[in-house]
Symmetry: D2
Subunit: 344 residues, 4 copies
């Protein structure tokens, strides 16, 4: 039985992780922690888990967590993880960080986009970007896994085969992404109120959303050269789900066969479904799946590649468990759903 | 491995049953059937289940189903089940009917409220009302189980202890219930369109909803005398969930202690949570749980007892699996969720 | 042109009042005020009003407002209005208070339910309860109008004729009410977040909601004797709308004719629609209308009377304008909508 | 008083037109018609309009309508208008067609994209594309006005200044648009059910949506050369609203000043608001407004231009009234809202 700690267990991503681990056959939470609610039962904060997860929340103390747990999940605001993680911590446990602190290889890029200092740049080299479909082998032997962002998971996986196989003009990439409101977190902000979100859609972070450099980093690596792209997120009046609609110019002569072949890289991936229909976020809700499909437009010469995930599962907690499964040698799908009910 | 057939597998309740059984450790679907979609893959109709349940749908033929399966679930429009089920079918398999045909003990009451003929009244005596929390022992040995309705499950379980323990004036019962829109089914009706349901709430079936006699039957049995009560359902702009708010006058001298004691009848029930807070449907979403709480109003002399369920799980498919588990001697909670994620 | 001041112009009710007055043919806002946003343009806070209402917000100073305006609307948290309104203020302008401070005739009842001190009890006698359908004549000559609450407006108007005409047993009244989320206000509370409200329904304030004594006061007056009743509100995942479903035992011998006759008291009311169908909140959205209908249940002996309003219009800002129209001798419907678009 | 007929008065766009005209100071509906509901009262179909618009619906007979009305609005499925409108009809009344039949100048393009025959191609030359902000002068003298589509209105107005002023590379245009569900109409389709739309977002019509050639036609005209562009619509779980997010590469040397100057073409437009903030559909809900804003991304060299409208108002019924106002010499804003309440 893998012993798990979760620091930041009462945010939406942390709580989803608590829920998934509460029914995982080979892992158990031994150290649930929350700075805001330490001393309270988890199910007092999330009454839906009464009876299923009633542990008392502890302080966000990574040293204690590392003593008691085999794996420590961090689900914290930007900048905190980089203060907490040390070589010593990593000598005692595996760390899977759901936040952004170890995702970008470059301290400078991090500090530019996140506008906060990085406190442990020496660990950046040790961190593996935890997108199993691309970095599975590296994840296996890692002690520090940077769990990808929600928009980034969806966008990278949707575009990766096209870039890896050099099918598109990488200077023309535009990602228009849409997210459910849980992505905005549990903070008590005016802009997250029901009456401010419901019955409306809006773009935000246009030209400057923090997930941009993360997508660029991974796709640049796949391309073998630097990629600069356009990323625009939107807020949608629904609880969960991310849809990434990615546009790029096809290179001359690329055919549908080339496209199919490129995506066949995923054909044995347990969490990726290549579908003919267009993706809808409801069909991946509650699962760790990524639904991907594409259309070639002969009129314009563009390809439109589309991916959908559940932002709290494949975009956060589920992917973290997928990474835990990999590191600890379990079946990668253990404890994770691959079928979505509907309506849900 | 229990072999299961589902007739009516593509309605919302049937599809939820498909989903639950697809991950049940001791049961498997061998005969999924749909009159409308026979010949197609289940996952063509429910793309969220692609990869998880791709079986081809067959015709709604109970004879064939009974040959191949140990248990046949029926999720059909009113009146069809009573035409299909026969002694012969019951000699071959257990039937769990998610519809209304075998819930009411009286053919006359059925025909009055449902305005359709009952085709197998001789089987009514053999049917057991599948509310395990009340009829568990009878369910164990039954071949024909009438799975309760969604509103009725929630309302009966909320009120049952108060009636059983004679705490309330049974002539004063008012049930004001609210349901998510999946309760209206998958039919292509104007009144079920997004733009007709969204951003509104409405009562319907006032004084004449078909779940009324079902609630009255069970509560009358508990009381030992006939009960007539007021039941009013509402449509709420959400996918899932039922909330039953039940009002009744407390009998003289009844105390909070009496109330607590009455509800303690549920204290070992695996799916009932007695909570202090007021119930919210989100906290049972996706689970087979019933959250129940109550308030005594000293000003008015009333008790307000409140229950919440997921209409597609405890109100339909989950309860059907609970009944299957009981009949086949499995752990009652097998394959059923008892912890709700949030937001979901 | 009537000159209007609005203190508390940036709450949801205040902002709706700003919107209605911005297109009122015979009134204009001269003094819009907001404690939180003084110095900013109204349309900076409510961008939907850019170009339509760009006035700069001023401080919540009732003395200045009274100097400049003919009518001062107050849309403030409980307890503030009773500190602000004085004989001197009333000598200079009409005050229409959208809050609760002057609704209850009794200081004690107010302080018991609102748990805050009332600072100007001597004015309670001067205040008129601003429900025009019942107190129109008194409103005409009043300087201090207590605009009714949202649940109360809907519930009182639905039940009033039945009590006035003595058709029901007033000891059996139960009001089960449902409200859209704008009723919870614009405060940055966890419980008002989109992800905490969406896809769920919950009761709240069971046995102790502050609108209870207000409903009891008005219905007791109509009855000529004290009425104690059960009132239970619910939160619904929609922006606007209140539905009150009211239950009571019919007195012996009361017929449908009696019911019709009782409700005919409203037949010339410009904002009340007596409808045959059951009310749905969407059909009054954005209007100052009240849709009312009822059903007699011969089985139970109960009447179910149902009303629907828009909580921000007839339940707040619209009714305030209706009262202004009455006091200043305008057509009562001026500036108020009596037809609802759908879907909206 | 302008006399108006509406054929197709019970679809969502037609009904919104009925609502707007019911309170228009200088127009009145004299001939409301509906093929499906002829003989019934409009308010029987739209109960929200009871008391405000109770006229009996007549048959969709354009000859009779033309006899009785000064202006005939058509809100019909594609292909019907082109059968109905004749020179004779146009000699008797002005026709404003909310459908697509007269929007495209080319019969061939129409038949290719709409896959239906055009029955009156000779009238295409007489039709004016009713986008007042671009074709106001032509509208003034027209007898046949093709009211633009919803996506097209929003997308064209957002991009027009950039193309007219030659600021962008017109070969790189991508429009990613999102619409509320009323855009899918009132038909009883599975895909429009609440439970199929709610809590999800999906793209549709990728590479082949019918609004594509309409946008291309208008922007090509502005450019003075043919433009081919990418247009992708999405379905959003909300009643109303369209958001168009338009991407294009800026031409070398173009500055923010150039952008501002280009958009200043709209500075006297009564229905266009150039805003600094990013547009949100809620802020134009119920109004005839278009909110437009843009961002230049120096990293990518792209401009992101964003527009928001209410699809049933500026995208359909409101714009039709705007056109009527222009043709009949009224103030262009008459009867149309320019301030949005919130939350609505």
């Amino acid at each position: 039985m893998i012993k798990a700690a979760i620091l930041g267990a009462t945010g939406y991503a942390g709580a989803e992780l608590m829920r998934i681990l509460s029914v995982h056959p080979d892992a158990e939470v031994v150290y649930p922690a929350s700075h805001s609610y330490a001393g309270k039962k988890f199910s007092d904060i999330y009454p839906g888990m009464k009876g299923a997860m009633d542990m008392v929340l502890r302080e966000d103390d990574i040293s204690k967590a590392a003593e008691e747990a085999d794996v420590v999940f961090l689900s914290l605001p930007a900048g905190l993880a980089s203060q907490m993680v040390t070589e010593e911590v990593l000598s005692k446990c595996v760390v899977i960080d759901l936040g952004a602190d170890y995702r970008l290889h470059s301290k400078d890029v991090y500090e530019t986009w996140y506008k906060t200092e990085h406190h442990s740049p020496s660990l950046l080299d040790k961190a593996v970007y935890g997108l199993a479909e691309i970095h599975r082998e590296a994840i296996k032997g890692s002690r520090l896994i940077a769990n990808p962002g929600c928009y980034t998971t969806c966008s990278i996986l949707t575009l990766y085969p096209l870039i890896k196989q050099q099918l598109i003009d990488t200077s023309t990439i535009i990602i228009d992404a849409k997210s459910g409101t849980s992505g905005a977190g549990r903070g008590e902000k005016l802009s997250s109120l029901f009456c401010e979100v419901n019955e409306s859609i809006k773009p935000y972070g246009v030209t400057n959303h923090r997930h941009t450099p993360e997508i660029e980093q991974e796709l640049s690596e796949a391309a073998g050269h630097g990629i600069v792209l356009q990323f625009t997120p939107h807020l949608v009046p629904m609880n969960r789900g991310i849809l990434s609609v990615c546009y790029a110019r096809l290179l001359p002569g690329i055919t549908d066969e080339d496209m199919k072949k490129a995506y066949s890289i995923y054909e044995n991936e347990p969490f990726i479904r290549l579908i003919d229909a267009l993706p809808e976020t409801r069909f991946v809700k509650g699962t760790n799946l990524v639904d991907i499909s594409y259309r070639i437009d002969k009129r314009t010469g563009n390809v439109i590649a589309m991916g959908a995930i559940d932002n709290l599962v494949k975009g956060a907690a589920g992917q973290a468990v997928q990474n835990m499964n990999i590191v600890f040698g379990l079946d990668e799908t253990e404890g994770l759903s691959i079928g979505a009910g509907s309506p849900f």
